[in-house]
Amino acid sequence: MARAVSNNRKLLNTVIAWTIGILIFFPILWTILTSFKTEAQAIADPPVFLFFDWTLENYEVVQERSNYARFLWNSIIIAGVSTILGLIIAIPAAWSMAFVPSKRTKDILLWMLSTKMLPAVGVLYPIYLIFIELGILDTRIGLIVVVMLINLPIIVWMLYTYFKEIPGEILEASRMDGASLKDEILYVLAPMAVPGIASTLLLNFILAWNEAFWTLNLTAAKAAPLTAFIASYSSPEGLFFAKLSAASTMAIAPILILGWFSQKQLVRGLTFGAVK
């Protein structure tokens, strides 16, 4: 029977989806659980899953030992400003590529993406030296620029795909209807592109938040964001898994919550064009 088969199929798909979902989420779940364990329980063998003495001790220690708020603030500034700056640069760029493409538009897009294929460490030295030269090592401004540049290709690509979906005829219609360039952007383009811009903003904010390579290498104390905060707990004096987990949980919590509330936008953003 066709119906029975399709129900079995559905069940199978659900099981597979949940399995993959749990596999992906497990490290995060484990980190969160570990953050509530004592150091001894954290390294217990065999590992304990749920039945341990739940404690907030690690959070207290982490809070005492480092200034979480400052790291958080740096993360917010770096991720937020670099995202907005990136959008300001990428929107006109993607716009012109989508609506007034030249012969080389495709090449430029590919070239931009190709910079993402370069191992970041390959340009660490030059950038480090430039930072020293400009005196922007361990400053938020320096990091904002670097993080923005790193994510720029992705922002442009995402926006380009969105804008491509907007039929050019609608823009032409608005021109025929007497809209000036300002009106065209304000009343026709922007409202149609808002979902795309919003998902790009969200995804890019998450990418910038999680950016670790550059933030770790180009900061010391002043401009260090939450990534550096986590790293500071994997210290040479031995690994304190529970405290490291507590620090990690605190670092990922804001973005996890943001992601949870904006998941609809994000999924739409990532699958846009594929399922239209």
Partner: protein, 334 residues
């Protein structure tokens, strides 16, 4: 007023010249149809008039004023697109109001014109819906409504009916014709469908590769096509074109005769052939006939229901007064 004059207008994309120098006069209140096969430049020509493409040379005048360099918004033309190009995030009401909002028409007047257009186009019940909730025909009417309220000097239609199904297309064709009768505003209409051209136009402009092949009323083109291209393009089914002895006999290189100008004869007649495939439409019957000595079959129309079977021998009488003669260059011999 809506008189549009094109003087030596050209358009090139890179090295490719899609419109060689072209002159055309569109009179006020005329319904002009640009027709031609795809890629003939008819849409480009319309977009040049609209101002959506810049000309590479020549001038476009609207009501005697040079509009060549004007942006689309300043030409007081309204356009209806093939894809309707409605604003998906606005209701029907807002879609129709948009051009008036841009022109700064006051609210009360906007409301009056929207209601007027909605009643003319049967959209009153749909004013608060969004384009996504409308059928193809309704969307097309919204696009027309948006064009009407501007009270433009001329309407431009870019294949507006191609996305509609056959039945709806016939209906909309009539509605647009009626609209023209009522508004008496100049309309420039692009289509590849010669039936649309024949039924709607005051004046047809037949285009091929950017060249104007012929300009004239539908019946002018039907009766006296200037060359083989127009002869083959206008009329449905197509005109039969014959070369060889039959053409030579009449002092031409190619002779043309339309399917409706050939009669079937019961007795021995001028032409003899065998019946091939036939199409029964009820009102007419079209059948292919293989003429003796000619490789390609010709199409013949008969009134009503005719029962002929493939392989039957048939005698045909061409109407000598309706024969078209063409020379070696494919031009009409008067």
């Amino acid at each position: 007023m809506g008189r549009i004059t094109l003087k030596q207008v050209t358009k090139s994309f890179g090295d490719v010249e899609v419109i060689p120098p072209l002159d055309l006069e569109i009179n006020d209140g005329e319904f002009v149809v640009f027709v031609g096969p795809s890629g003939c430049g008819k849409s480009t020509l319309l977009r040049l008039i609209a101002g959506l493409e810049d000309t590479s040379g020549g001038t476009i005048e609207i009501d005697g004023k040079d509009a060549t360099g004007l942006p689309p918004a300043k030409r007081s033309l309204a356009m209806v697109f093939q894809s309707y190009a409605l604003y998906p995030h606005m209701t029907v009401r807002k879609n129709i109001a948009f051009p008036m909002r841009m022109a700064g028409v006051d609210k009360a007047e906007q409301k009056r014109r929207i209601e007027n257009a909605a009643s003319v186009l049967n959209l009153t019940d749909y004013l608060d819906r969004r384009p996504g909730q409308l059928s193809g025909g309704q969307r097309q009417r919204v696009a027309i409504g948006r064009a009407i309220v501007r009270e433009p000097a001329a309407f431009l239609f870019d294949e507006p009916l191609s996305n509609l199904d056959a039945a709806l297309r016939v209906g909309m064709r009539m509605e647009i014709s009626e609209l023209h009768t009522r508004l008496k505003t100049t309309m420039v209409y692009v289509t590849h469908d010669q039936v649309e051209a024949m039924t709607m136009a005051d004046k047809i402009v037949v285009l091929r590769a950017g060249h104007i092949e012929q300009v004239g009323s539908p019946l002018d083109l039907y009766r006296e096509p200037r060359n083989l291209f127009v002869a083959g393009f206008i009329g449905s089914p197509k005109m039969n074109l014959l070369q060889g002895s039959e053409a030579e006999k009449r002092g031409a290189v190619t002779m043309g005769i339309r399917p409706e100008h050939i009669t079937v004869s019961a007795t021995e007649a001028a032409w003899r052939g065998t019946v091939g495939v036939s199409e029964h439409l009820g009102s007419d019957t079209f059948f292919l006939v293989n003429l003796e000595g000619y490789p390609d079959p010709i199409t013949v129309r008969a009134d009503g229901e005719v029962s002929l079977h493939p392989g039957d021998t048939i005698h045909l009488i061409p109407d000598e007064s309706r024969i078209h003669r063409f020379d070696a260059q494919g031009l009409r011999i008067p």
